[in-house]
Amino acid sequence: MKRLYLLGLAALLCCVMAAAQASDIQPILQEHKQIIAKSARKTIAPAIDAIAKSGSPQAQTVLETWAAKAMWMRKSDGVFFAGEKAEDKQYRLFDFDSGEVAGTYPKADLKQIKPNSGIRAMIGTALVQFQLIDPDAARRQAALTSIQRDPEVRFLAPLRASIEGEPDVKLLAQKRRLERLLTISFDKNTEARVNAIEEMSGDLGVDLRATLNPLVATTRDVALGEVPSGLNIADILAPGTEFFSRTDAYDLLVIKSLAQPKVTANDIRNALAANIDGGRVAGIPVARLDNDTARHRAYDILAKAGQAPARVTTDDVDAALASHVFFESYYEPSPDVTTAANASLTAIGLRVGLNQTLDLALDALSLTSIYFLAAIGLAITFGVMGVINMAHGEFIMMGAYTGYVVQRIIPDHTLSIIVAIPLAFVVTFTAGVAMERLVIRWLYARPLETLLATFGISIALQQLAKNIFGTQARPLTAPEWLNGAFTMNDVVSISYIRIAIFILALIFLGVFLFIMKRTRLGLETRAVTQNSRMAASMGINPGRVNMLTFGLGSGIAGVAGVAIGLFAKVTSELGSDYIVQSFMTVVVGGVGNIWGTLAGAAMIGFLQKGIEWLNPSNTLAAQTYMIVFIIIFIQFRPRGIIALKGRAAGD
């Protein structure tokens, strides 16, 4: 692809060569050789400007080549070329002006010019003038993106001019929107700006808020006596409020050199230390200066003697604060604009808040489905059969690793997932059946010991996974069509992979209900769990039913593993991350009822997101308080949200 592009470039260059002789680009590049090679954003501006303004027909190609990291410098003479990879670590170079192949060189003789993304953005901005009316829609898009990233007043006119005659509908909409935003920021006519603000009011785009917010940015200042005129005042501040304490006010005075800085304890100590005279400071023996009262007394004596600045007293502070007025003023001089922007932002703020709540609810729903998926297998083995399976998490892990192995064998991501899901089910179903036959069936009467035995299996499986797959995380990549996110607007979005997990959870809920309520196996399972002996006397083989039920629960855990691996990671510790959570989901929801598990997952998911929202800077705290809440919750509803009643409760 790159090769084709470069060839096309070369052809293009050949055609225009004759006319271009006069304005070759290489001399300009040479003139700025140092700064181009140094490649730092602070110093690069003259080079980009010179190229963009050179008028050379190659300017655009040079800039594009540069931004694509395809510009090379020949070390021997410092000449710049477009380069492409040739055979055995050699690079083929093309002259910018002639477009001809300038030879093939080993990498050691060349220096690749690697602009960082800051410089690339600047090049992008410089390219706008060429690209905005380029016949290629992709380049026009690039130009719009550059303007969006770095809006400048000089783009307003060309952008407006380019709107007419834009054939692409999508780009036209983008250009219109961008024009409005630039108008808000840069138009000379206040009325036009206010109109634009009002026109766009209620829009949820981050770009609009990013345009409006700088308009209402304020600065705090202070003046003696009265508020100076000619400023666009936002607010007069009274010292002593929550947002503007008296300390803040005094600090502002000190910063503006309108008041003496307070003398800190450290200052006092340093002043005392500097004035030790024969074991005494201001007549007080040094040994007695080990408390604040003595230190203050000594310092005051020093201050009186002029050897140190006097301490600022409360009275001084009061007087200083009383004689000044504190205010916040807008940077934007026009009050009309700031009023309109404020009104617009308030309106947007309300809508943003609503949408954020919606987004949070979606997140919580997604977390719910993940917890539900992780716990549904457990809801069967623990909830229905009463078996504490500590190795449940390891079944999830086995499913995830199955997905990884399948992906190694079948590189196509879509196909591999389609294969991996049933295969994961088969693998963990088999493992579950084996475990039930070999271990668990001997322990049905001793639930607490099942816990220990399955815990043993859990650590053995975890270590086995480490021995086989190593300790590094393994990649499990979602198919292309699950990439990206479903975006309602700039606030509400949810990734497709989470939607897929949600749907998977729904499917499993359906499958579970179907099996339990509509099939022979479900009927037999319910019979066996309610009364095993009675079931056996009715001709049901409890051993077989238990085996199949346990296998089913394990198999579902395996499929959950594939899903969890897709959105998080595949490591040997994957399972242990979910085991405690899964148990709590089942217990909180109410054992023996799938709706209970769903309710439990929903409660934990929504609660966790809720606490995260209250304290966004500490996700760990959210988890802590969630668990504390669950502990307290269980005290009041020991049987969970949906408790079985009567005989089925098996108390």
Partner: protein, 409 residues
């Protein structure tokens, strides 16, 4: 017939004798007080093992005798460690700070000293102020009291809530696991004031003690052995009399005991708080030997391991818990230390560092399936004690209640 406590529990005397002999032997072999055959690191390992034995005794009391499978006792163990760690850290840092501030020209004010200590302790985690929970850290006596009070209070509140609402069986196990997880996560936060993930470190350096670790390790071994002996005796006394009978009754059939008029909840609560305090004392002795305590010590898995030790050793008998804890933790040290020889199979070499956990895991399964009495069962073989044959009938209707094999003792 009134018999003395000792006469009813001959195992206590045997245990005391074994413990004394063991302590004496290690002292003689140690580098500090003896011929130097046992390295200091090994003495420390043994000292720590004794502490683990003590918490295993507590675990046996609550699980083996009362039938409550608590998966949260390492929370109390850790809390005990934190309480003593706070004093050790504060005092050690205070000595350093006072020494360093004495070189300045102006003598420091008390608040300057405290600030400097705070700066030293919390500078590592990017803070410098003392949180509220350090209020008593300057007093050894108060912190020692807190070693028992804080975990005891936590156990009291948690136990009262849980037992009051009749949470039993596996639900209680999962609830205790949630408790220790919540505590660990809370302490992981820097805001909790106990240095987050870094925890409290350098605890092996006792403030004001200049003796080398060769001696300190033996002192702690003595202290641990003493605590284990006392704890064992206390546990044996608790389960020997009428109280013990009621407690075992609760294990075998809680409902029947309740109908007999006993306040089941009170008994459970007493045992729960008592074992929490024992665990805390074990922790307070363990962490100065380990040198560092951090929240990972309280992760739920630690408490599950504890249950496994007791199961392997043989629950329902106190010496079983001690044997289990000592055996598994020492074996674990041996295997992870890389000292176990590799086994070449030709096509694959079994490295024990990789395979030890697999072996351990499978041995849990084997013990649960084939030797529910654990290693203590070996002693039954020796003393030729046999279980009465009841043709497989339960002793009680409650699942998880004592089976006949366990009832035999």
């Amino acid at each position: 017939m009134q018999r003395s406590f000792i006469a009813k529990n001959p195992s206590v005397l045997i245990f005391f004798a074994c413990l004394a002999l063991f302590t004496l032997a290690v002292t003689v072999l140690s580098e500090g007080f003896g011929v130097g055959l046992a390295s200091t690191s090994f003495v420390k390992t043994l000292g720590k093992t004794l502490c683990l034995c003590l918490i295993a005794v507590a675990m046996d009391l609550i699980w083996g005798f009362t039938g409550i499978l608590s998966l949260g006792h390492f929370a109390f163990f850790g809390l005990g460690g934190y309480m003593i760690g706070m004093w050790l850290m504060y005092e050690r840092t205070r000595l350093i700070v006072v020494e360093s501030l004495s070189q300045t020209e102006i003598p420091p004010t008390p608040s300057e000293v405290v600030d400097a200590i705070g700066n030293q302790i919390f500078g590592v985690v990017g803070s410098s102020e003392f949180p509220m929970i350090w209020a008593f850290a300057d007093s050894l006596v108060l912190q020692l009291a807190l070693v028992v009070l804080v975990p005891g209070l936590l156990a009291l509140v948690f136990g009262w809530l849980a037992f009051r609402s009749r949470v039993t069986g596996v639900y209680l196990s999962i609830l205790t696991q949630a408790m220790t997880l919540a505590l660990a996560l809370y302490l992981f936060q820097n805001d909790s004031g106990l240095r987050g993930n870094n925890g409290l470190s350098g605890l092996q350096n006792l403030p004001g003690v200049t003796a080398s670790q060769d001696f300190v390790s033996v002192w702690f071994l003595w202290a641990s052995a003493g605590a284990l002996g006392l704890g064992y005796a206390l546990a044996a006394w608790a389960v020997s009399g009428k109280f013990g009978s009621v407690v075992r009754g609760i294990r075998d059939n809680e409902a029947r005991v309740r109908f007999l008029g006993y306040s089941v909840e009170t008994y459970k609560l007493v045992i729960f708080v008592l074992t929490a305090c024992l665990a805390a004392i074990a922790g307070a002795l363990y962490y100065p030997q380990a040198g560092i305590i951090n929240p990972a010590e309280m992760a739920p898995i630690a408490s599950v391991y504890l249950a496994v030790w007791v199961a392997i050793g043989g629950r329902g008998r106190l010496y079983g818990a001690v044997i289990g804890a000592a055996f598994v933790s020492l074996l674990s040290t041996w295997f992870t230390g890389g000292q176990a020889p590799d086994i070449p199979l030709g096509f694959y070499t079994i490295k024990w560092v990789d395979w030890w956990l697999v072996l351990l895991g499978l041995s849990f399964v084997a013990v649960t399936l084939f030797a529910p009495k654990g290693m203590g069962g070996l002693i039954d073989l020796w003393t030729r004690r046999k279980s009465p044959n009841r043709h497989g009938l339960d002793l009680g209707p409650d699942e998880g209640a004592l089976r006949e094999q366990e009832a035999s003792k």
